[in-house]
């Protein structure tokens, strides 16, 4: 039996260890030319041997795709610099950074961030306002296009040169067409500052927090319940009915008060309280045959305790409005319903007033017109009760 001896050289390659990757978050589509990996046991080219080669780097994303690396420099046993370029198509995911050669390897994780643009808050859509969050490397800027989807139209608006971060965006109320809007989406054309080009970032579709019923620019006229105490001029005969007993009192009311109450539907008299013209009550039918001779629809009134509208709720001054079609839905299915809260905006997306739908306004058939009940007690005319104004109006539901 012969014995052979073979010389074996035991080589102990350094075992690498990663302590830090800087930066450790990489935006998809951006090229990072100077990513520093710190640690120990890295093998530089001048120390490298066939058995212990220069420390290599591999980066794989969570979906097992390879993240391209280039220009790897092992500067020292403790520092590597490398160029990393995660593709623009990468989603937000974890990347595993591996250094060394098997079996002497070390791993650490980094984060790939896809650029994103998200509508984060639609809670103030009644002002035509939404909030978006744009995620991208610092220095990025680009135009954001948002689409609002309505039942009949799609409204598109560009917001120029938006930078990353949370942004409050106002739709141009003068341009948004009247419609009922329920969803929004869009695109952010993000230009990265490193010159790597523009990325088209999809804004995912979002359902608005509330359905936005936008009426556009709307005229708000005003009406009141005139007070007889504010009326000048002479009086004329009239009848006041108590419809619960079908009894009446005859007396005098200021002539101008009579006319204004006929016009507006309700008036506050000095001696008889709140009155309505008989023709808009059911007293004529209830008390048929009990009306005195000479009583007509224009000189006979009915005592009431509150001013109510077609929604069968009390009308409140500087709060209630009347709309067309009838908001109670009795005659047709209206866009505005009883109890809808209206937001009356200025062109700068700030709320000037809020009002609640409570009555029908037949005169509002002329379009883009709502009548608002005011606490003004005026009996005089000549513009004593002018318009509240024109406002960009909407409700949410």
């Amino acid at each position: 039996m012969t014995e052979t001896t073979v010389p074996v050289q035991i080589v102990n390659c350094d075992v690498p260890k990663i302590t830090e990757i800087k930066p450790s978050t990489w935006f998809a589509g951006k090229t990072y030319g100077n990513v520093v990996i710190k640690g120990t046991g890295f093998t530089t080219s001048d120390k490298a041997t066939a058995a212990c080669p220069v420390t290599a780097i591999n980066i794989t994303a969570a979906d097992n795709s390879v993240v391209p690396v280039s220009t790897v420099n092992v500067d020292s046993k403790t520092k590597i610099t490398v160029t990393i370029a995660p593709p623009a198509s990468d989603p937000t995911e974890t990347a595993t950074v591996t250094v060394g050669t098997a079996p002497n390897t070390a791993t650490a994780t980094a984060q790939i961030e896809a650029l994103s643009a998200t509508v984060t808050d639609t809670g103030k859509i009644e002002d035509g306002t939404v909030k978006v969050k744009l995620v991208a490397p610092g220095g990025t800027a680009g135009d954001l296009t948002l689409n609002l989807y309505g039942e009949n139209d799609t409204y598109t608006q560009d917001f120029t040169s938006l930078s990353p971060g949370s942004q409050k965006l106002d739709f141009d109320l003068t341009s948004v067409p009247p419609d009922t809007y329920s969803t929004a989406d869009g695109t952010w054309n993000a230009n990265l500052s490193d010159g790597s080009g523009a990325q088209s970032v999809n804004v995912p579709s979002v359902t608005l927090a509330k359905e936005w019923i936008y009426l556009g620019l709307t005229r708000f006229s005003q009406y009141n319940a005139p007070y007889e105490s504010q009326c000048s001029g002479g009086s004329q005969p009239m009848y006041v009915f108590d419809r619960s007993s079908c009894t009446y009192a005859s007396g005098q009311l200021n002539a101008k008060f009579i006319s204004k109450t006929q016009l507006n539907g309700t008036g506050m008299s000095i001696n008889y309280g709140l009155l309505k013209p008989i023709r808009i009550t059911n007293a004529g039918k209830l008390c048929k045959g009990k009306l005195p001779p000479g009583a007509s629809s224009l000189n006979t009134f009915v005592q009431v305790s509150t001013v109510t509208g077609s929604c069968n709720t009390a009308i409140a001054a500087n709060h209630s409005v009347a709309t067309f079609p009838n908001p109670n839905g009795k005659e047709e299915t209206p866009l505005l319903l009883c109890k809808d809260s209206l937001n009356l905006d200025q062109a700068d997306n700030t709320t000037a007033y809020t009002r609640v739908v409570a009555d029908k306004c037949p005169a509002c058939i002329d379009g883009n017109h709502i009548d608002s009940f005011t606490d003004n007690q005026a009996c005089d005319a000549h513009g004593a009760i002018g318009d509240l104004g024109n406002f960009y109006t909407s409700t949410t539901r």
Binding site: S259, L263, N264, K276, A381
Partner: protein
Amino acid sequence: MTQGIFNRCENRLQAFSLWMACVALMLLTPSVLCCAQQVKELPTNHGITGKQPDIYWHDADISLDLDASTKDWSVVVQQGTNPVERAPLPDLLEQVYAIHRAAPNRAVLLADLSAGAKFIGIIGTSPAKLLDSFWSSAGPSLSPDNRYVLFVRFYPMHGADNYEDQYRLYDVLGTRASNWPERPAQDGPPTEPINYDSTLAGVPVYPLKAGELGRENTNIEDGQVHQRASEFIWSADSSKVVFADVQGGVISLVVVSMPTAAGGKPQTVVYPLAGTENVCLGTSEAECNIFNVRSLAWDGESIRAALMIRPNHAKAIEKDLTIPLSKFVLVGK
């Protein structure tokens, strides 16, 4: 209506030519008052600002100017070399929006009352006097020759249910008595309640039924309510007017022809949009209204109607129809 002067000219070119001629004449002879017809009125959907704008009608023969400089408003009438006269106006007017001359001695004043109601005043110009006045809940619409007023009979503007639009026609050149056939022409005695319904100015043209000339126009039974479903569109020669009305989920086109002889009555014909022309088909009866009618226009002896089919929560579809007057049926037959 349009705002500004010269809007009574046949076209813009004519107006411009007239304006140029006026300017040239005034430059050459400043003492000569330019006699072009000038009208200042407010646009259709005007607001009420609280400050009465200037409103006037000036033509070759007469100047009619609203004077709202004091609390007692009036129309100042200047006719030829006659002394200036004033026609006082009632103090219920919120805002005057138009004055139109209708005849050598007659004018029409249109004004806003409160709550959206309208005032129509008939003014005699010699002597200057408010001859008659009435209220309207919608409209009113003047014929192009300013002779007729089509309007919706007045009802209180708030607080009722099931308002019905009842259409009436007033002849500006008629008398107060001839325009108020369903009530005494005289006001009640000053110390007694007034015993007529002053909402019954003019003659009823639709929806009229024998014996129902003065029926109520509020708290009408469900499904029976007539509602206006378009503007009032006059033929260019003022002989006819068309509008849309809806009742119970059916839109009808209504044409009213003006009387052709003194003492005559207007004639009303109607064309219900039924069958394949029913733009409300497929939607609930309740959703048939003014929003189904985009526009109406005269095309000779036909009506062109741009209608809208409005399916629930879907894009509206336009449907255009041309309907000859020969297909309309006399109301009441």
